[in-house]
């Protein structure tokens, strides 16, 4: 009986999928996602599209906050930049979606880098406050630049097309999001296991020691802002397609905090953290929705009591995770995996 996993060579150490078992299950999971629209209701498909978008955004935030250790509270704003860039390019300039989508990412990356410049000097809480500034400045610009963004009234998003896909059709949008979420996961995985990813973690763990091994701090801090915002921009562009109408209220600090919370619950600094966190978040949200409606219909005289259930439960969940599982679900998953890998000869 195999117990544990032993690498003899440099190549096996570096492999993405360590065992065939992992590969098989991953394939099963992806096939399940691909076949999902054939069996699911419209509502479930739209929820899963939201999940896919959130996964892309969370990978971005996880690269920045989890791996490089730079807390960002402006992630939704960068998504907003992507959403507006993509929508404006499609409706006003008539740019095809295939170009508008990467342009949205690039624009968000550029804006992210501008707001990432303080990261050279600021760390931790101070940087978090600088990113809150980014959130408010971007929101303000969206609200006030009537000519470009439609101001407080927001703007209608023209449904984009990509070859045979028309994104006003939820299933088409689901597939696009699914493919992009997988691509984002792969990209994030490869960034992490390559030179730049090690530099990110080195900066997070010990920036002085990182510098003496030859990591240019400023370059990599900015790079992590750029990559993170790029993914946020892509997620924002998809979100715009999903929402069909976007306003400055679609990308507020609440969303930024939600994404950070998802990353914390999933596990900062773990690639799977983004996915687990989003999954947990959405499942909990659906459950609470169900609970609230059930309670409302059971006690119609006390509807006001149940309004804040969602906020309270989410707050308590985050606190619970911070105390009992600060490394998130991904760390727990790793422990479980290690246990089974070594079973029955643990230790």
């Amino acid at each position: 009986m195999p117990s544990g996993l032993f690498h003899e060579k440099y190549e096996t150490d570096e492999r993405v999928f360590q065992t065939a078992f992992v590969k098989v299950w991953l394939f099963v999971f992806l096939a399940g996602c691909a076949l999902f629209p054939f069996v699911a209701s419209k509502y479930m498909i739209s929820i899963m599209t939201e999940v896919g978008i959130a996964v892309i955004a969370c990978h971005g935030l996880n690269l920045l906050t989890g791996f490089t250790g730079q807390i960002s509270l402006g992630h939704a704003a960068f998504m907003g930049v992507g959403a507006y860039t993509c929508s404006i390019l499609i409706s006003t300039a008539g740019v095809p979606f295939v170009l508008a989508l990467p342009a949205a990412g690039a624009m968000a990356a550029l804006v992210g880098m501008v707001f990432g410049i303080p990261s050279l000097r600021l760390r931790g809480l101070y940087l978090a406050i600088a990113t809150i500034a980014a959130q408010f400045i971007i929101e303000f610009v969206i609200r006030r630049w009537d000519g470009l963004t439609g101001g407080v009234e927001g703007m209608y998003v023209d449904p984009a097309t990509l070859g045979p896909l028309h994104f006003n059709h939820p299933i088409h949008l689901y597939y696009l999001t699914f493919v992009l979420a997988v691509a984002a996961t792969l990209a994030a995985k490869n960034i992490i296991r390559a030179r730049s990813g090690r530099a990110f973690v080195a900066i997070r763990d010990r920036y002085l020691a990182a510098e003496v091994i030859g990591v240019n701090l400023f370059k990599y801090r900015l790079m992590s802002f750029a990559v993170s915002s790029f993914l946020a921009g892509i997620a924002g562009a998809l979100m715009a397609q999903y929402l069909e109408v976007i306003t400055h209220e679609s990308f507020t600090i609440h969303q930024s905090i939600d994404y950070l919370a998802m990353c914390i619950i999933g596990g900062l600094g773990h690639l799977l953290g983004g996915i687990f966190g989003v999954a947990f978040w959405f499942i909990l949200e659906r459950m609470l929705e169900w609970l609230t409606t059930t309670l409302n219909s059971a006690f119609p005289d006390h509807i006001t009591w149940f309004v804040s259930i969602r906020e309270i439960v989410f707050g308590v969940t985050i606190i619970w995770f911070l105390i009992f599982e600060p490394d998130g679900l991904a760390a727990r998953w790793r422990t479980i995996r290690a246990y089974w890998k070594l079973w029955p000869f643990s230790y």
Binding site: R195, D205, A209, L217
Partner: protein, 264 residues
Amino acid sequence: MLAVNNIEVIYDDVILVLKGLSLTVEEGKIVALLGANGAGKTTTLKAVSGLLKVENGEVTDGTIEFMGERIDNKAPEEIVSRGIFQVMEGRCVFENLTVHENLVAATRTLKSRKEIQARYDMVFHYFPHLKSLRGRLAGYLSGGEQQMLVISRAMMARTRLMLLDEPSLGLSPLLVSEIFSILKRLNQEQKMTILLVEQNAHLALSIAEHGYVMENGKIVLDDVVDKLRENEDIKMFYLGLTEVGTKRSYRDTKFYKRRKRWLA
């Protein structure tokens, strides 16, 4: 190889730490830098490796040359690419990377996979113990293993001059002597030049060829190790070889303090 000429280092524009310090390190040698706490040894290493800027320090006067080229205003990553690698005190491993990743992280100056592989094997030749720990997170290693890991990181980079800051910090004497013997082997077999900062003067002088003694941001003594060991002041202040166990008179104490002041 390395020539530090009359440098002056100031932190935060006000705190003068190095006051005209000069030293040279010849290629292939181990040079020890001794001194009391706060003498400026670590600052000297940081001045060479370019880390001062991050800590708001600055070389305001003098020059630092490496292989005939001035490096005193270069960024740390440029200095690393020239082959100077500082092994910081306190075992600065990246806790959340595995041993393997820690080693690979230090190969930023290398391009070819073959060379990385060769250096990887070399590390395990000198530190066979690390090989079995490859997949382990560095944060879970013991102090001695972490110290081995940070020295190995320097070996992974194309290091010509290793600036080694207190490798014995917090380690058992047995482990320290093992690490020091490996350092000596590295120096002899791989021709690695080492500038060693160490509180344990006995040990440092046992592997070094040349020694410098610092007091208050200045070099106060320098000589080949054999002569340093015979020096009365070194014996008194660093090796503790005189008056062991004897009770000092008031006169002796005054003399001791005076000598120390003259030296500084």
